[in-house]
Symmetry: C2
Subunit: 206 residues, 2 copies
């Protein structure tokens, strides 16, 4: 019998814990507590202990958590304990910004291996360390290299058909910057980034 799945809302907080642990480590700390983590993140210490308890026991009573150790454990849980290949679709302004800041990805468990676009004027051009590849070659490259994660940075009108192609080629997780809800089969993960949604959320409180 499979044990009950961990709630997605718990999973969604683990990357934040990981990020905060990096910051603490960068400040020279080696030990932290659920209280300190909670304070940094605006969460209760009980919630942090509860979240971690879904996966095991990582702390010591009276002492707290070893930062290095907890980082390793969280990386293992999130499956970012090894580098994961990512491809990017769309070599527009946003695509450029993403490629040029790929260290942000590399530092945190991802490796940007290819950029695709179908605009003939962009194909063959170099952005940072990567050459823009014709979208035609995308399925083959994704399949051959076993890439599982893709970032969509194309206009909203092309996003669904790009997503279809990606899924067909074997992509299992999509981060989309297009402001539309994508239709994907069961088992394919999708997350969205739409800055305007956040702005409109905040204006409610003005």
């Amino acid at each position: 019998m499979r044990s009950k799945a961990v709630p997605d809302i718990v999973i969604s907080r683990l990357p934040l814990y990981l990020r905060t642990l990096s910051h603490l480590a960068a400040e020279g700390k080696t030990i932290t507590s659920s209280q300190e983590l909670g304070q940094r993140l605006g969460l209760s210490s009980a919630q942090i202990r509860k979240d971690l308890s879904h996966f095991g026991e990582f702390g010591k009573q009276g002492t707290g958590y070893d930062i290095e150790f907890l980082q390793q454990q969280l990386k293992k849980i999130l499956k970012v304990d090894r580098r994961r290949d990512v491809c990017l679709i769309g070599a527009g302004d946003l695509g450029h910004a993403i490629v040029l800041h790929h260290e942000m990805l590399e530092e945190r468990g991802f490796h940007l291996v290819a950029v695709f676009d179908h605009n003939p004027r962009k194909i063959g051009k170099t952005i940072g360390h990567l050459e823009v590849i014709d979208s035609e070659a995308m399925p083959t490259i994704i399949r051959d290299q076993g890439i599982q994660i893709a970032i969509i940075a194309v206009p909203a009108r092309s996003a669904q058909s790009v997503a279809d192609t990606l899924v067909e080629a074997g992509i299992r997780a999509i981060l989309s910057y297009a402001p539309i809800t994508l239709n994907v089969p069961e088992g394919v993960q999708v997350q969205y980034i739409d800055p305007v949604i956040h702005l409109q959320h905040m204006t409610y409180y003005l």
Copy 2:
């Protein structure tokens, strides 16, 4: 007596409803239902009706919702029924991408009025329709123009001090692309965009 506050999780869905209504309108539809909206967003129809019921009655039994009308009402609720000025701090690659795609903001209730940077090599340069202004002038401009919303696109190490300056100058809502939790006084809204958080969340399910 003030009526009980609407849960933030409800507020966070309203921008998604608004976005989906635009899409339906763009497809030529004039009427929709809680069921159709739910289907598009992957939510139950009951949830959509419940969410809307916090603010009033916007539909007709047997018919559904007039798209145009519901859009207007949601815009009013979210206070994006008039254009809101936004300023941007950071004229790096990400800042460039944001300015060059400002139509995305304009179409959905925001108006990008200024870009700031403190790098002398960037000050005075033009990005799209805007000239990069020295950060020194930022507080004055924010105050004089009554800007309430800011987007932070600077490196993590400068984000907190930028936020402090913004708050001091009167900014009430901050959208930050820096991967750190910002400390701001009660009453100032902050939202974050960190693509890596989403990627790490998805890898859990791979």
